[in-house]
């Protein structure tokens, strides 16, 4: 069964610092990849997704993620974080042709003004 690892449980950064959150999945076949974000007091919402094509995908609010198939990774990046990026970030994977999402355990991001 598919599994997803997010190695950073809690990340604390100052505003304007660069961000990279790691995500690795276990199954080596064709997959669809997602990052979801949950801001304090809000619903889970989709940040960005990768289905095929350019492995560097751009999402909302200046976030991007790079799919590296050889490393089974889909890391999330942002060049300069803002206090408003404080949230919990979840990586999720779906095997191709299967809608079932497998989520990682999440990374709590705290941005210090």
């Amino acid at each position: 069964a598919q599994s997803v690892s997010q190695h950073n449980h809690h990340v604390i950064l100052s505003e304007a610092a660069s961000l990279e959150l790691g995500c690795n999945y276990s199954y080596g076949g064709t997959v669809n990849l997602f990052w979801y974000v949950q801001y304090p007091g809000q619903h889970l919402q989709l940040l960005l997704k990768y289905f095929s094509g350019d492995p560097l995908v751009k999402g909302i609010k200046g976030f991007e993620a790079e799919f590296i198939k050889s490393k089974f990774s889909f890391n999330l990046r942002k060049p300069s974080v803002q206090w408003s990026d404080t949230a919990e970030y979840f990586c999720a994977v779906a095997d191709f042709g299967n809608e079932k999402l497998t989520f990682g355990t999440g990374t709590r991001l705290t941005i210090i003004p």
């Binding site: 997803v4 669809n32 997602f34 979801y36 619903h43 889970l44 919402q45 989709l46 997704k49 289905f51 979840f90 999720a92 779906a94 809608e99 079932k100 999402l101 989520f103 990682g104 355990t105 999440g106």
Partner: protein
């Protein structure tokens, strides 16, 4: 566009009691999901409906959990009897069609079993 609605937002019950959660998906969304999110973990899919039919319930503990979506719109998830380990946030999500992959989540119901 109204989002996914869930109620109640919070529920506290004693073990061995029963509880039910309600979800109303975004209008026109045919696919509905129930997830369980235990503290410190990511959401785990319990059951997926396509209209009023079950697509995947492989991770639903069927001895105590049940779910229905009778008219292909709103859905109810029930736990009977509850155990301490059922304490979690129960999330409902919907998507426009099977295979769309983009799921829209509700606010969740936080269940505490004492």
């Amino acid at each position: 566009e109204a989002g996914v609605a869930q109620s109640p937002r919070y529920k506290i019950i004693e073990k061995r009691q029963s509880v039910a959660f309600w979800c109303n998906p975004i209008s026109g969304h045919a696919t509905l999901y129930w997830y369980q999110q235990i503290l410190g973990q990511g959401p785990k899919l319990l059951i997926q409906f396509q209209n009023n039919g079950v697509v995947d319930d492989s991770q639903l503990p069927k001895d105590r959990f049940s779910a229905e979506r009778l008219k292909g719109v709103d859905s109810t998830l029930k736990i009977q009897p509850a155990k301490l380990e059922d304490s979690a946030v129960y999330l409902c999500a919907s998507s426009t069609r099977q295979g769309s992959y983009e799921q829209y989540f509700g606010p969740g119901t936080r269940l505490t079993v004492t």
